[in-house]
């Protein structure tokens, strides 16, 4: 199990510095791959459409997932509902490369996330803060992403979550060993993982930014804030010119520290996706508060 977990963390390491794009058809997957995506997330609907559509959002039809796997050579990820371990079993049977246990879908269990140690296939999970990230890692997640607020085209929540996680990591590194158990209690996180973070000044797994990234500058912002890479959901295929925007976001992610390149690729991209002020969303429409 331990060797498998290491291999799963290792795959996430290979995705660093890259962009993972939501796609709903094989054609979109090919566009994403050509634009330089390091992986695609196979979905029936992107988060912006899930918001608009309402009702229960579930794992995608295996037929779509298989068609997308067939269409590209880069890793293919897919989402399952929080706590829905049978959807995860199905994706494992489809030999998916990574499972996202995602708050974007309607949770299937309000108390428990999936026990990810029972799977060979790797999992990525969302987090708003360090405690949440370490709880997910404690359950076997081999990659973390910020939750942000998916489908809004508004990066503010992703920024908040990334800053939270980084500030809490920094704080742990200043504590003495006898303070760590109390810190673990406060973070509601496993002690061994708290100790790891305190000693190493980083999470034991890769941490991507996700939720609301819509422009090349958004992607570069998250990279400068310390993200290892970015997920872009609705931001690409709900925009006016997906090919161009996808490529621009990839370039801005690699050259996140070169403003002149970000400026160049940001030119003439057409309209970004429709966006939402988070304050206009009611409590039930906030995906980030799903899960614990």
């Amino acid at each position: 199990m331990n060797e498998r977990y290491e291999l799963n963390k290792n795959l996430a390491q290979m995705l660093k510095g890259g962009v993972i794009m939501d796609v709903t058809t094989p054609e979109q997957a090919v566009i994403a791959e050509k634009a330089g995506a390091v992986a695609v997330m196979a979905l029936e609907r992107v988060p912006a459409d899930i918001r608009a559509h309402g009702g229960v959002a579930r794992m995608s039809d295996p037929k779509i997932i298989k068609a997308i796997k067939e269409a590209v050579s880069i890793p293919v990820m897919a989402k399952v509902r929080i706590g829905h371990f049978v959807e995860a079993q199905v994706l494992e049977a489809l030999k998916i490369d990574y499972i996202d246990e995602s708050e974007v879908l309607t949770p299937a269990d309000e108390s428990y996330h999936i026990n990810k140690w029972q799977f060979k296939v790797p999992f990525v999970c969302g987090a708003r803060n360090l405690g949440e990230a370490l709880r997910r890692i404690g359950e076997g997640a081999s990659m973390i992403r910020t939750k942000g607020e998916a489908g809004t085209g508004n990066v503010v929540e992703a920024v908040r979550h990334m800053r939270n996680i980084n500030a809490e990591i920094k704080k742990l590194t200043t504590l003495s060993e006898e303070e760590l158990m109390a810190a673990a209690k406060e973070l509601q996180a496993p002690y061994e993982l708290v100790k790891y973070v305190a000693e190493n000044g980083k999470l034991p797994v890769v941490n991507f930014a996700a939720g609301g990234i819509a422009t090349p500058a958004d992607a570069a912002l998250m990279m400068q804030l310390g993200a290892d890479g970015v997920f872009v959901g609705s931001g690409i295929f709900k925009s006016e010119n997906p090919e161009k925007r996808a490529e621009a976001i990839v370039k801005a992610t690699t050259y996140y520290d070169k403003p002149e390149i970000i400026a160049e690729v940001s030119e003439g991209l057409g309209e970004a996706m429709n966006s939402i002020d988070i304050r206009d969303l009611s409590e039930k429409d906030l995906y980030a508060s799903r899960g614990w």
Binding site: Q13, K16, K34, I74, P122, G229
Partner: protein, 188 residues
């Protein structure tokens, strides 16, 4: 000695951290033509070859790396890096740098569920068996006459050398052992 690690995407930091452990080595992250000119060796890390290959083209780094190869600068590709160097890719119509006379197969072992670790025998690199991590790895199906096969695992070529080019289908940047770095940089 300044050793560049191509920093477009992938296991860049892992290589940098390994290089930092070697005396007399200055690791350099490189993603532009200027820094590429000023290095004594170059590592092409693991990652996604399609993504890295596209950026090599778009930012005109391809010719800069080919020039390094021609001037004899040692270049080492791990996993995706090996695919970037290959002259032939069996299951892809794109060739990236096309500098090493090897024929590679991408994702040759299957999906992430087929990723694995193995102990390899590689006498040129280490007397002991070395641990190797294969992540959605490629392997080499065939080599040109000037290519020396360095390791075979399960009937497939997983490491090779051709002049100043060195290719491994696995990731020495992910294991603790420094012997691959010492071999590549001639520090034995």
């Amino acid at each position: 000695m300044r050793v560049g690690v191509l920093a477009i995407q992938g296991s860049v930091k892992e290589h940098i951290d390994k290089l930092k452990r070697l005396d007399g080595i200055i690791p350099v992250e490189t993603k532009d033509k200027e820094t590429l000119k000023n290095i004594d060796a170059l590592i092409l890390p693991g990652g996604e070859s399609t993504a890295i290959g596209k950026m090599l083209n778009d930012f005109e780094l391809k010719d800069a790396i080919i020039d390094l190869y021609k001037s004899g600068v040692p270049i080492w590709g791990t996993c995706a890096g090996m695919i970037l160097m290959a002259k032939h890719i069996v299951n892809d119509d794109k060739v990236h740098l096309g500098i090493m006379d090897i024929k590679v197969r991408r994702n040759a072992y299957g999906s992430q569920l087929d990723s694995f670790t193995a102990k390899l025998s590689m006498p040129e690199v280490s007397k002991e068996k070395v641990e190797a991590v294969f992540i959605r790895a490629p392997y080499i199906e065939d080599v040109g006459e000037n290519v020396k096969v360095l390791s075979i695992y399960d009937g497939k070529i997983v490491a090779a050398r051709e002049g100043n080019l060195f290719a491994t289908s696995f990731h020495p940047e992910l294991t603790d052992d420094l012997s691959f770095y010492k071999y590549f940089l001639g520090l034995h």
